[in-house]
């Protein structure tokens, strides 16, 4: 079982969290003209590395905060967690 350190609550077991995917995705700015390609990239294309991956998790059965996790997708080692406005 993963043990994830919520930046607000500390280390908790995996069942308290839900996964939110690639943390590098940025929604295109509101009102800005963008191409279909940029929009497709935002909606459908994600980083899918084997190794270090930055991702979003939600402490859904805890403080209900979203935060960022740097995790290895092959070994499941968690390197670091951070609040959304902090750098990983």
């Amino acid at each position: 079982m993963l043990e994830i350190k919520c930046p607000y609550c500390g280390k908790r077991s995996q069942n308290e969290f839900s996964y939110g995917g690639d943390a590098k995705i940025k929604r295109p700015e509101l009102g800005k003209e963008i191409s279909d390609k940029e929009w497709d990239n935002f909606v459908y294309y994600r980083d899918n590395p084997k190794g270090k991956h930055s991702e979003l998790w939600h402490h859904i059965s805890g403080c209900r905060q979203w935060f960022k996790v740097s995790r290895d997708t092959a070994s499941h080692e968690i390197f670091k967690t951070a609040k959304l406005d902090e750098d990983l």
């Binding site: 690639d22 497709d40 899918n48 084997k50 997708t73």
Partner: protein, 418 residues
């Protein structure tokens, strides 16, 4: 090739079965091939088989970094079905069902196709309506589908919880009678033997490390056992597709996730059909050895580890116990995980790419095993003819750009739900 029959069995019994030929050769890697298939799983082996058989392209290599049948083709829950509503899926998988029906004869290898019927339970009137709609769509596409009442279900799966006090009472079901199971290892070995017999080189323990692309065309493949020249390559590497595609500077609408399955200790015949739970994600069947074969949800986060975590397994099996309460008395024998190539709309991609000579077969999500024959058949056509067959004409890579998604159940990776 040594043909398998009652006569060859009797003949070999006189020599204590010591003189059977190997089912396939262990050839040396050649310097050049007409087509290189990356990935010696079910889809790769089937692709090579149909390339040789249907399109007479026999100078083909299958490169497998592990061993034949060691990946997802040996890790699934062996379910076959074509109970899809959208035409693109229904017609594709139904063609696959027709291939399954004759596969043992075609390959001279018993794949133990067992059309025992796939039953999808419904737990509300609304769900029954949805299933009736799906069943009608299936029938319009020539796929067998029947609705079962609760009374009919009681005779078919008497051990399910039919009480009204169940958390999700059973209202009825949709059944595809021709759906069922097959022996997964036999499928891999049968296709390997068939392809090898037609001249295909199966190279095990050979990892692809890079590609040679010149002027937008593929000209070669770099492997752990040397470089090969080729004009066409087909990628059939399931959960590792993104990694190989990144070596071609391609980013794909795919995430790799781990999906677990498990089997219980063997028990006497208890369940004649494949049954799925309609109020969650759980499916089970009983193997010929008597084990209950069960599976359900993804672990839910990106993973390249072929092992899963306990919370998901607990969640999946709690659904199983809700459906068949007496499952709670069984001991688990084994659990394992496989890496799924989850596409963003939950449907596969069988297509050409922008690089000439590079073909893509991926995005199988939970359901690659049942598609093994038809995936190989259509992918072989796509590689040989350099354009998709009508059956896979909707499974294009550019559908995420054009908006022609095949969102059968809105599954996929669920990244937008969070």
């Amino acid at each position: 090739m040594q043909k398998y029959s009652i006569f060859s069995l009797i003949k070999n019994s006189f020599s204590n079965h010591q003189n059977w030929e190997p089912a396939w050769r262990d050839p040396e890697l050649k310097k050049e091939y007409d087509v290189v298939i990356v990935g010696g799983g079910g889809h790769g082996l089937a692709t090579a088989y149909y390339l040789a058989k249907e399109h007479k392209i026999t100078n083909v290599a299958i490169l497998e970094k592990g061993w034949i049948g060691g990946g997802n083709v040996g890790r699934n829950t062996t379910i076959l079905r074509s109970n899809y509503m959208w035409d693109a899926n229904g017609l594709f998988y139904e063609y696959g069902m027709k291939l399954w029906e004759n596969l043992s004869q075609e390959l001279n290898y018993n794949v133990m196709y067992s059309p025992r019927g796939v039953i999808n339970l419904a737990h509300s009137d609304a769900q029954l309506n949805v299933f009736a709609r799906r069943g009608n769509s299936m029938r319009l596409n020539g796929i067998d589908a029947i609705m079962l009442s609760k009374e009919e279900l009681i005779t078919k799966i008497p051990f399910a919880d039919f009480s009204n006090s169940a958390r999700f009472p059973i209202f009825g079901a949709l059944m595809q009678p021709k759906g069922g199971t097959a022996r997964h290892d036999a499928v891999a070995w049968g296709y390997a033997r068939g392809a090898d017999n037609l001249g295909v080189d199966i190279i095990q323990h050979c990892e692809v490390t890079g590609f040679d692309v010149q002027n937008g065309k593929i000209i070669g493949v770099q492997t752990s056992r040397g470089n090969i020249k080729t004009k066409k390559i087909g990628l059939c590497v399931a959960g590792n597709t993104s990694l190989l595609a990144s070596k071609l500077n391609m980013k794909l609408p795919i995430e790799s996730h781990v999906l677990q399955a498990c089997v219980s200790e063997p028990v006497k015949p208890f369940l004649d059909h494949v049954v799925t739970f309609g109020a969650g994600h759980f499916y089970c069947s009983q193997s010929d050895k008597g084990e209950m074969v069960m599976g359900g949800d993804l672990d839910g986060y990106n993973s390249y580890a072929q092992r899963g975590n306990l919370p998901t397994l607990q969640h999946v099996l709690s659904e199983g116990v809700a459906m068949f309460p007496n499952l709670s008395r069984l001991k688990m024998l084994r659990t394992w995980g496989g890496i799924m190539d989850m596409s963003m709309d939950g449907s596969p991609i069988i297509d050409k790419t922008h690089i000439e000579g590079v073909y893509l077969n991926c995005g199988w999500c939970y359901g690659g095993f049942k598609a093994t024959p038809v995936s190989g058949w259509t992918f072989a056509y796509t590689i040989a003819q350099d354009h998709p067959h009508e059956l896979n004409s909707k499974f294009r890579l550019n559908r995420f750009h054009t908006g022609h998604l095949i969102d059968e159940k809105g599954v996929g990776t669920k990244t937008w739900i969070g």
